[in-house]
Symmetry: C2
Subunit: 178 residues, 2 copies
């Protein structure tokens, strides 16, 4: 099963690189339960593996965005649905946030999200005083915070943390009560 092995390597790479972007290929190979030789057989250079990880990450992001059905409801509702889908991406979040997210983040996708936020500006569900790119920064940083929070405190359930995340994010984006 060639694809099997390839996928195992990419999955392990995502997990390890999320925690330590400078981790060695030997560590990744070990985590994937694969010899370092085999890893090099699939990805000749480190850069090749990073590219594959970036591509995989990009796919997962697009898939999550599709699942979120961003056209439906108000801008804020769509963004919160996206937030829930992204939260399920797990350690990929750390990789996008701390690592070189530029590798897999398509500016086309970003433009799409900006339009969703602007929809929220117009329908009154997102404070128009918050620029769209600031809202995106906020989304990513809170996603990362929630993921890290879940990792540190094993006693809180995934659902509880997701609830905190959506509550604070929704509040942060809501227009003032004036």
């Amino acid at each position: 099963m060639k694809n099997r092995t390839r996928q195992a390597i990419i999955d392990a790479a995502i997990d390890l690189l999320a925690g330590n972007p400078a981790c060695s290929l030997g560590d990744i190979a070990a985590a994937a339960q694969v010899g370092r030789t085999t890893l090099h057989r699939y990805f000749a250079e480190r850069a090749d593996l990073l590219a594959a990880v970036g591509a995989e990450g990009g796919e997962r992001l697009v898939r999550a965005a599709t699942l979120a059905d961003l056209e439906r409801g108000t801008g804020a509702e769509a963004l919160l649905r996206l937030c829930r889908e992204y939260f399920d991406l797990g350690s990929l979040l750390s990789l996008m946030f701390s690592g070189q997210g530029g590798e897999c983040w398509d500016s086309q996708d970003e433009q799409f999200l900006v339009r969703v936020i602007e929809r929220g500006h117009n329908d009154g569900s997102i404070d128009p005083q918050l620029p769209a790119d600031w809202v995106l920064s906020l989304l990513w940083s809170q996603l990362y915070a929630a993921w890290a929070y879940l990792g540190e405190r094993k006693d809180s359930s995934r659902h509880q943390v997701l609830d905190l995340l959506t509550r604070t994010l929704a509040n942060a984006l809501a227009p003032g009560r004036s």
Copy 2:
């Protein structure tokens, strides 16, 4: 001026480590406009430099917390003042957030902040449904987001970004409008 050199090295280390926690000592020495030999003369091992950076970071954090005068006003007001002070710490934020913040983060300081947040729970300025440690995660993640946002978009002024940060953080912490 021995202290002069030492401080230049630490400052350069904070700036460079914030961007790349795995950067080489040679890079840090160059950024500090100091020979690598001199760097090793002040900090025999890499760990020694990291410890000094941690100590410096801890001092700056405590100083910022003191300036914020956390005993005054409601819990939320105190936290927002702290946020403003922390924002001025600049690249140190990245180091605390992405890097091994555990090096300089004193659990005693953390307990103090937890009490401030609990004060906010009691005086009605912070949503009691948000656990104190989640509020802290939120504070750090939004601080980091704001700092990164400012770094990417040189056209937005420090004041504008700080305004966005305090607005969204204040909203996120506010109790529900029910």
